[in-house]
């Protein structure tokens, strides 16, 4: 690996019993961070504490962690039972205790019938359950998950995601979970830490991260389709703050500015597809715009409309629109209470 600096300076405190998800694009350092916590990568500088103990230089086995890997990493020559009990047998746990823990884990994960099988005789979902079981029997203080669902197909992924959430509800252990899948992050986490280039961009509850992203990257990374961005200026006059750009003008007086807005400030306006409202009558709505529908994406439960507005493309949720047709002109407005504003230069929320 050489001396490539992947994570430069990072502070992260995980609260006991929480389900913290490290979310970020591939190569952002989230897996490196997890492996450093597990002790599989040596850190150049800094400290790692687990349950109040400095484990920076401790052996992986002495850190009170259980880990689940993306590729399951089951021992191919051992049965499910021996896979789960391997660590306990190494540490010299009494036979009764091993049996008790394996029994409990296999009950929680519905693996009772599979205990005598080899990993090659299991399906992907079963293998990952065994891998979780192997972490579970260690009765560790912290569970580390390294993209555990990425190798599964969509249906199984949703199923195991639910099971993981139930597992956390049941055993209430601290869990640290690495993923690049925003849906996994949103559904599982009690807090999400969004990472980019080795830095934590924002750490907060899923809903806070979704509704008040700290910067343009976080805003764009979460949500599908992702947030719409428009660059423009702030115009401040007589207590009214307006965002204006060649294509859009929006009254943002209600926006909770961190600092008083400045006239002419270059900003990026961000709004989510579901915060675009459509209107059939053109009366009595402020800042109504007319756009052409350029593309429709039916998602089953809802439909995504792609709007072409003065050369800009916006995505919108087509709730409240009856039978939209491509090339149809449609009036829309933006829910001004839920927009986000970012500084153009710093990309940070203002």
């Amino acid at each position: 690996m050489g001396n490539l600096e992947i994570i430069e300076a990072l502070n992260l405190e995980v609260i006991e019993g929480e389900f913290l998800v490290l979310l970020g694009p591939s190569g952002c350092g989230k897996s490196t961070l997890l492996h450093a916590i597990a002790g599989l990568i040596d850190v150049e500088d800094g400290e790692i504490e687990i349950a109040g103990q400095n484990v920076t230089w401790a052996d992986p086995k002495d850190r009170s962690i259980g880990m689940v890997f993306q590729s399951y990493a089951l021992y191919p020559t051992m049965t499910v039972e021996r896979n789960m009990s391997f660590g306990l047998r190494i540490s010299g746990t009494p036979r009764d205790e091993i049996n008790r823990r394996v029994k409990r884990a296999s009950e929680i994960l519905h693996l009772q019938e599979l205990l005598d099988r080899k990993p090659s005789q299991l399906s992907g979902g079963q293998r990952q359950r065994v891998a979780i079981g192997r972490a579970l029997v260690r009765e560790a203080a912290v569970f580390l998950f390294d993209e555990p669902l990425s190798n599964l197909d969509a249906k199984l992924r949703a199923e195991l995601r639910r099971e993981l959430k139930e597992l956390h509800k049941q055993i209430k252990s601290t869990m640290l979970y690495v993923t690049h899948d925003q849906i996994e992050a949103m559904t599982l986490a009690s807090r999400i830490a969004v990472m980019l280039d080795g830095h934590i961009q924002q750490i907060d509850t899923p809903s806070a991260i979704y509704s008040k992203p700290a910067n343009v990257f976080v805003a764009g990374f979460l949500g599908s389709p992702s947030m719409n961005f428009v660059e423009g200026n702030l115009e401040v006059s007589a207590g009214i703050v307006r965002f204006s750009s060649p294509s859009l003008g929006v009254d943002v007086s209600a926006y909770p500015f961190a600092a008083a807005p400045v006239q002419g400030h270059r900003v990026i306006l961000g709004f989510r597809p579901e915060h675009v409202q459509f209107f059939s009558d053109t009366t009595a709505v402020a800042d109504l715009h007319v756009a052409k529908i350029s593309l429709l994406e039916p998602m089953g439960s809802h439909m995504v409309i792609w709007l072409d507005h003065l050369g800009q493309r916006f995505s919108a949720n087509a709730s409240g629109v009856r039978d939209p047709v491509v090339d149809q002109a449609i009036s829309f407005a933006i829910d001004t209470g839920r927009v986000s504003l970012f500084d153009v230069a710093t990309q940070q929320r203002i």
Partner: protein, 296 residues
Amino acid sequence: MIATVSRKQRKRPSRLTPARVGTYVFLLSAAAFFLMPLYVMLVTSVKPMEEIRLGNIFALPIHGTLGPWISAWTSACTGLHCEGIRVGFWNSVRIVVPSTVLSIFIGALNGYALAFWRNRAAGWMFGILLLGAFVPYQIFIYPLVRTLASVSLFGSLPGIVLIHTIFGMPIMTLLFRNYYASIPLELFKAARIDGGGFMRIFVQLMLPMSVPIIIVAVIVQVTGIWNDFILGLVFAGRENLPMTVQLNNVINTTTGERLYNVNMAATVLTSLVPLFVYFVSGRWFVRGITAGAVKG
């Protein structure tokens, strides 16, 4: 219409094109060419000397006899002793078994350490080890003789076993390192978290997974060490000369007439072990080599 088409396709058309005929002719003649010496050896070894003196080396024996085989095994003379090459056979077994086991174990350990316990110097060590495989080993003989003599291992069974273990190291390490490189690193990491140390992960996790490559290694080492001549001649000592050296002595010892039939029988006997290994495990050999290539 559809039915007839599908019926036509059900049977694969047999095409005996001129190209295919040519291929078979070539293959058969090549096989015959390489099997000819073996045929001559086998027929000669079951002929009495009177028939051999006639000079028809391709002729089948008229009065077949197993006498030459028996005397090759039990009474052929190697120099001053006339106890047959069975002495050499058992010497070779005594050399091959420990050398094979040791070189494979250490090679696997080396490969495992190089593949998983990444060390800053690992690349260098591996490079130097491989370099050893490309240096003609005759160069090492004299220094090794002096070295072994100084620790009084020269001309002893442990000495020759040590020599074979050392010379097997580069290829064994390469074989196992490449095999272990195909095993996902996460497996090793999982075992580390489970508390496995260096030896435990090796013995309980990696070795059981290495069966295909161990079989390949056994084939390589058994045939290689069995067929060795010069190392055995130099290092084994008079009491432990391997079968190849004894065979050479049998053939070069002439008292009166040259016993071609006995020589042939002794030669076939000497090559039986590598032949047996290949016939029994050839299938595994291919499987083991491809297992590393196509993800383990």
